[in-house]
């Protein structure tokens, strides 16, 4: 095995006492202290995450928008500069190769953020799909860092460190992005996240990462900001009902099965890779993604079977005891006949069965901002 990649913030995390984990070829903080305390901080105040393992690619050129319309499931060319879009990279057979966020930075310049595990696939696919277009696709991941500040106090934390007032930061509405002043330079800030809370994701060159991280933690800790690892990131996204590539999203799943029809622009002029397969849809009876409330305090885990009577009708893809809700929750793919909210099912948890019922997603929805 080759050596694990390290974030430009690795030394700072080590000094802060992080426990590291291997994730998609990277050594990243799993937790800094208690992951439950980190989770709670994001729900109640704010947390800071190092996401420098994420892939950062760029498509630049006069055809960039048109190329991305062809390569991705969403209508990217219509994205005004300063807007972000959640989208999918599909295989010709409609299977999901990755889920992405695309930021329009200019009419001919798009930042594409990919899962660390899929960076190579995304880079190769986009380059290949770009061949007939006047556009250059670059993988900038090695020189780039990403820091997320998430939680109800994230705006106050960013205000404290940048000097921008709340109104100015709120010009950056949900799924908008812009350059903001930071210290004596600037960085690219987006109102996006993966926690179910208000928050920001900050993009910067790797050499700026330590300075930005330190400035935010110094200004943020008096406001309740807590360093968070990937354990809290996973528990927060699961409560928010957000899919994780490799669990809910895979090469074998069509967007409809994952409940992502809305991100596929089937009416796009010119079509896109995978459109025919999506239009045709999955085979009759293909399993669909649902949320489950599970009785008891034992967590179903990825791979746990879902049963109805004596038949296995599905499989859990993610599960845990929800820290915020205090109940066991899970995401699962089930036979569509059992996908209706309120359907009573059972989940095999190691040697026993636990009662479960299909519920609405997300499990946790934050209250509207004041």
């Amino acid at each position: 095995m080759s050596e694990l990649s390290r974030s430009p913030l690795h030394a700072l995390h080590e000094a802060a006492g992080a426990q590291f984990t291997e994730f998609a070829g990277w050594s990243m903080p799993l937790r800094f202290g208690s992951e439950l305390a980190e989770h709670r901080a994001v729900r109640e105040t704010a947390g800071i995450f190092d996401l420098s393992h994420m892939g950062q690619l760029r498509a630049v050129g006069p055809d960039a928008g048109r190329m991305l319309d062809h390569a991705l499931a969403g209508r990217i060319s219509q994205l005004e500069p300063g807007r972000a879009k959640y989208t999918l990279l599909l295989a010709p057979d409609g299977g999901i190769l990755d889920d992405l966020i695309v930021y329009a930075q200019a009419a001919d310049d798009f930042l594409i953020v990919a899962n660390a595990s899929n960076r190579g696939t995304v880079s190769a696919e986009l380059s290949q799909r770009a061949r007939d277009f006047e556009v250059v696709v670059r993988d900038e991941s090695d020189d780039a860092a990403l820091i997320a500040v998430q939680g109800p106090a994230s705006r106050a934390v960013l205000g404290a460190v940048t000097g921008l007032d709340a109104a100015r930061l709120d010009d950056l509405r949900s799924y908008r992005a812009a350059s903001i002043p930071f210290g004596d330079g600037e960085l690219f800030a987006a109102r996006t996240g993966y926690t179910g809370e208000d928050g920001f994701e900050l993009y910067m060159p790797a050499e700026d990462a330590e300075r930005v991280w330190t400035a935010i933690t110094d200004a943020g800790e008096p406001l309740g900001l807590v360093r968070c690892g990937l354990a809290a990131r996973d528990s927060l996204r699961l409560e928010a009902g957000m899919p994780l590539y490799g669990h809910e999203l895979t090469r074998e799943v069509l967007p409809q099965q994952a409940g992502l029809d809305r991100v596929v622009a089937l009416d796009k002029p010119g079509g896109f890779v995978g459109d025919e397969a999506v239009r045709k849809g999955p085979p009759e009876g293909a399993r669909v993604l649902v949320g489950l409330h599970v009785e008891g305090r034992r967590a179903a885990r990825a791979g746990s079977p879902v049963r109805h009577g004596d038949r296995e009708i599905g499989e859990v893809t993610s599960g845990m005891l929800s820290p915020t809700l205090g109940m066991a929750i899970a995401l699962a793919y089930v036979d569509p006949r059992f996908a209706v909210t309120g359907t009573n099912l059972e989940v095999g948890i190691r040697s026993s069965l636990a009662a479960a019922s299909v519920c609405e997603l997300p499990f946790y929805l934050r209250k509207a901002a004041a």
Binding site: L30, R31, S34, H39, R298, A299, L321, R350
Partner: protein
């Protein structure tokens, strides 16, 4: 009441306090740290018969499950329900948060079962 130096250890990260034919069992500080925040503990019923190597208890964190094995055949004679009510106490002090007590059929069988002392246990963590 539990001095880590007076305990015996297994390679599966359990600690054992052996008093005559009774063995009190918990998970080590190292195991607790690796698991992360413990959110659920399942303990055996008092009076349950267990075989050596059987899974007797489960210690579950937000991310994973730690199984606790019986170091010898015997009968469960006590369980620590405080830990069920407050699973986080295992993260607080893993050596106070014992899980269950076993009366073993043959105390001599423990000696041949590869138990470690504290130094040996810590040494194998490094390896």
């Amino acid at each position: 009441m539990s001095n880590p130096d007076d305990l015996r250890y297994t390679a599966q990260h359990e600690w054992l306090r052996i008093e005559g034919d009774e063995v009190t069992i918990g998970i080590t500080d190292y195991a607790a740290e690796q698991l992360g925040d413990v959110v659920f503990v399942e303990l055996p019923e008092i009076g349950a018969r267990v075989e050596r190597g059987a899974v007797v208890a489960e210690v579950e964190s937000t991310k994973s499950v730690g199984e606790v094995y019986a170091p010898a055949a015997g009968e469960v004679v006590a369980r620590h329900d405080d830990v069920v009510d407050a699973p986080e106490s295992i993260n607080g002090d893993a050596f106070e948060a014992w899980l269950f007590r076993l009366r073993v059929d043959d105390p001599a069988s423990l000696e041949g079962s590869g138990l470690l002392d504290r130094d040996q246990y810590l040494a194998q963590l490094g390896g």
